[in-house]
């Protein structure tokens, strides 16, 4: 088979996938040895480093070289990429005629995906997991530009986080286990990226959730992490249930879960040469929308979109490197990645929903970020907000913009988290009110975090600016000419920039500027060791000299241009094939100006509040007390869940009743309580009714038995009388019958 031939990404992809797994196994099986206990980071570092190398090779092979060779345009690539059909040497696990089908489908229509794509199945490289006859699950690897870029981002951040952790987690009693889980996470995340099958994607999806669960709960002796981890898993389980139902719908419609097969089937639907089997009597459009919405439930939970964002801030109970890797750069972005991966599948209605959710998330999370005092939680809400931006972008058709923001965000947010980790490591607190004045003591941390902050806020010439402006452009193009509501995403995207700048500068201010507010902690503060600062520097560099620059490496193109969207098959199938106009230079310039203005407003507000204190933050708080309380209480999401699920009947009254109560336990505990309640009710039912029936029967027969025994009086003449009576009765019965 040519899977392992030179010049294909096969080997590399496999290495990327399996090396972290091997690292996990090594650490898991040797955890008792002295080496692993003390030097548990060595093997993981090696594997993830190699994976990074492989990812870069694939990136070079697939993106840089390819694009250099095919600078002519997108449309003609497909045939070339698939020019070499699989030869007959495919082993028994190969998907027999599938590639022929693909080829035909691709050549046939104009709806073919014009993007570069490498599928291991075309080269006989697949692993048949299961084959029931109706469902054949071949695990294969599919790489396109999206994937290749994502691989680099994930392996790079993962590598840096591994490196950072050697210092951050130093001395922890479960040191080697931490690395084991990091490795398992890397494996799952990379699998999620590489797989070409929706069901397998779901599998890895759950696996990353599992790793997240264990890593959030890593310090399970403490009170919060177990609760937070359970909350995270359960919230995601809700989303995953929807995801699974979506997969069931997709399978029912297309009879497959293979992404490329789904693509070609959708193609046929778009061309009108095939129909979707109906369900519940719905039309194709409704069915596709419902399926899309179900599928989107997964990303909604995983990417912490309102209203399923509640788990992410709590997840900060995990070690900070974990927050950086999983809850900022990679796993939470998996939702965005997944939406990008099946982008062709979403109908316009579905996309509008995604945009709406993204918008709400972007705004709500940003406002909470304004008031929170926990450094990690501010960053967590910021992550939420940025993920909202990405969803918004995807929803409004900004495919490349959204994914591009994913990449840039991964770097600067990881940098921020690692920087926060560095601060926490140094002052042993997460409360920003106990920090301050650390600028001098921690120069590297301060500088790198500042760069990342500027990138996050979207200050021009930092990476975030590129992606954010593209998002705003797309949102504007989407909203223009339609009703005002459709303009909201654009407005909020713009306004959100100001908010972002404000809360990030507040974070920097509280942490690094001013006078130290806790001298004891301040005195012990120190700059972190190189193992922690080097990742910071690398990530800051990437935030600064972003991939957003048109650099020669990409044949003179910007990265986002390589991430061309697939044809919107669902829209085409529904006859909505409307091409949004492309943002022109003028628009781009206008957006730039407006954004700068908003940023400036944000900066001025920040400066007036915190630098010049006219008025100071206290005044603002006093002035907008109600609003402030609402926001500090995180918009009462947790309470809302508790209230709605706990007391369905008088939900409103309950919400009002707890307005003044402090932040309570997690929503999942609320759900848990309901579950417990229902469970208890059921258990009661079990005991009273189901068992009761049995026991009733038992008691009844006992009672009858007791009664029956009475006729056995012991008195002979009673017996005789009964017998004679019996005779009479039998005679009567006889005569009655005859």
């Amino acid at each position: 088979m040519d899977f392992f031939d030179d010049g294909t990404p096969g080997w590399y992809a496999l290495a990327i996938l399996l090396l972290p797994l091997a690292g996990f196994c090594f650490n898991a099986f040797t955890y008792r040895t002295e080496f692993t206990r003390k030097r548990g980071h060595i093997v993981p570092l090696l594997t993830i480093g190699t994976a990074l190398f492989c990812a870069l090779s694939i990136f070079k092979h697939s993106v840089i070289d390819y694009d250099a060779d095919h600078a002519g345009g997108h449309g003609t690539h497909a045939a070339a990429a698939h020019g070499a059909p699989a030869d007959g040497s495919a082993d028994e696990h190969a998907s027999g005629g599938a590639d022929g089908e693909h080829g035909a489908a691709r050549a046939a229509g104009s709806l073919a995906d014009p993007r570069w794509r490498w599928s291991s199945k075309d080269h006989g490289g697949s692993y048949r997991l299961i084959d029931t006859g109706a469902l054949r699950l071949d695990a294969g690897i599919a790489i396109d530009h999206l994937t290749a870029t994502m691989l680099v981002v994930v392996t790079l951040v993962a590598f840096l986080v591994h490196l950072y952790s050697t210092s951050y987690m130093h001395g922890d009693k479960r040191y080697s286990r931490f690395f084991a889980f990091l490795q398992l996470f890397s494996f799952s995340m990379l699998g999620l990226i590489l797989t070409d099958n929706l069901l397998l994607l779901f599998c890895f999806w759950e696996l990353v959730g599992l790793c997240s669960y264990f890593l959030i709960g890593f310090w399970f002796e403490n009170e919060d992490p177990p609760k937070a981890s359970m909350k995270a898993f359960m919230t995601n389980r809700f989303g995953d249930a929807g995801f699974l139902v979506g997969i069931l719908l997709v399978y029912r419609m297309f009879g497959t879960t293979d992404l490329s097969e789904i693509y070609s089937k959708m193609q046929a639907v778009a061309e009108g040469s095939a129909a979707v089997p109906s369900l519940f009597g719905w039309e194709t459009g409704t069915l596709l929308t419902v399926a899309g919405l179900c599928l989107f439930m997964g990303p909604m939970a995983k990417s912490a979109q309102v209203p399923m964002h509640i788990w992410l801030p709590d997840a900060m109970a995990g070690p900070t490197p974990v927050s950086a890797l999983i809850h900022a750069a990679t796993m939470v972005a998996a939702g965005v990645y997944m939406v990008g991966r099946i982008y062709f599948f979403f109908t316009p209605d579905c996309l509008a929903f995604i945009a709406g959710i993204g918008t709400v998330t972007a705004l709500l999370a940003a406002t909470i970020g304004l008031v929170h005092n926990n450094i990690k939680k501010v960053l967590a809400y910021s992550t939420c907000s940025q993920l909202g931006y990405m969803m918004l972008s995807l929803g409004v058709g900004g495919y490349s913009a959204g994914l591009f923001h994913l990449y840039t965000h991964a770097f600067f947010k990881a940098c921020l988290f690692l920087g926060a980790g560095s601060v926490i490591h140094s002052v042993h607190t997460e409360d920003m009110r106990e920090m301050g004045g650390l600028k001098e003591k921690m120069p590297v941390t301060y500088r790198t975090m500042l760069i990342a902050t500027l990138a996050l806020a979207g200050v021009p010439f930092f990476s975030g600016a590129f992606s954010k402006e593209m998002i705003v452009e797309h949102a504007l193009v989407w909203g223009f000419g339609a009703n005002v509501a459709k303009l909201l995403p654009a407005l909020i995207a713009i306004g959100g920039g100001g908010l972002t700048f404000f809360y990030m500068m507040r974070l920097i201010n509280l942490t690094f500027f001013g006078q130290p507010r806790d001298h004891h902690k301040f005195d012990h503060a120190h700059e972190s060791p190189p193992a922690m600062t080097i990742p910071l520097l690398v990530l800051a560099f990437l935030s600064l000299f972003s991939v957003g620059w048109p650099i020669p490496l990409f044949g003179g193109k910007k990265l986002p241009e390589l991430l061309a969207p697939p044809p919107a098959l669902a829209s085409i199938a529904l006859g909505h094939d409307e091409h949004h106009g492309h943002a022109g230079f003028a628009l781009a310039f206008a957006v730039l100006v407006i954004s700068c203005a908003v940023l400036w407003v944000g900066y001025v507000l920040y400066k007036r509040t915190y630098k010049e204190r006219r008025p100071g933050p206290e005044v603002w708080v006093a002035r907008f007390g109600g609003l402030y309380t609402t926001v500090t209480n995180l918009y009462y999401f947790d309470e809302f869940y508790r209230a709605t699920v706990v007391r369905l009947g008088n939900a409103t009254a309950r919400v009002l009743a707890i307005v003044d109560s402090k932040v309570l336990d997690a929503a999942v505990n609320g759900v848990g309580a309901v579950g417990q309640l229902v469970g208890k009710a059921f258990a009661l039912f079990d005991r009273l009714v189901v068992d009761g029936l049995v026991n009733l029967w038992w008691h009844l027969s006992h009672a009858i038995s007791k009664k029956l025994r009475r006729i056995q009086t012991g008195n002979l003449q009673d017996y005789l009388a009964f017998a004679v009576g019996g005779m009479a009765l039998v005679t009567l019965l006889f005569l009655f019958l005859a």
């Binding site: 056995q712 009086t713 012991g714 008195n715 002979l716 003449q717 009388a721 004679v724």
Partner: protein
């Protein structure tokens, strides 16, 4: 002519009286007499039917054997009644009720 109906009627009456005696009388001797009545009702029937069917021997034989068996039964019964009288100084059949639920 034969008077079958009459015999059968008398037999039936004896049977019913016998049963009634057995069920209601407490004295063991009366009870046993009730049993005799029942047996004799059957014997009467047999003889009557035998005659009705043409002076058949089998029915008459049956009647004779019933009488013989009644005697045997009475012998055993009296023995048992004596025992009862020994244990419970009475021949009231409803007295012994140690056994029973």
């Amino acid at each position: 002519m034969d008077h079958l109906a009459g015999y059968v009627f008398i037999g039936a009456a004896m049977f019913v009286l016998g049963v009634f005696t057995m069920v209601t009388r407490r004295n063991a001797i009366y009870v046993l007499m009730g049993a005799e009545l029942i047996l004799n009702a059957a014997a009467l029937n047999f003889v009557a039917f035998a005659r009705h069917l043409g002076n058949r021997l089998d029915g008459q034989m049956f009647a004779i054997f019933i009488v013989i068996l009644a005697a045997a039964e009475a012998a055993v019964a009296l023995g048992i009644v004596l025992q009862i009288h020994h244990h419970f100084p009475s021949i009231d059949v409803s007295k012994p009720d140690r056994l029973g639920d």
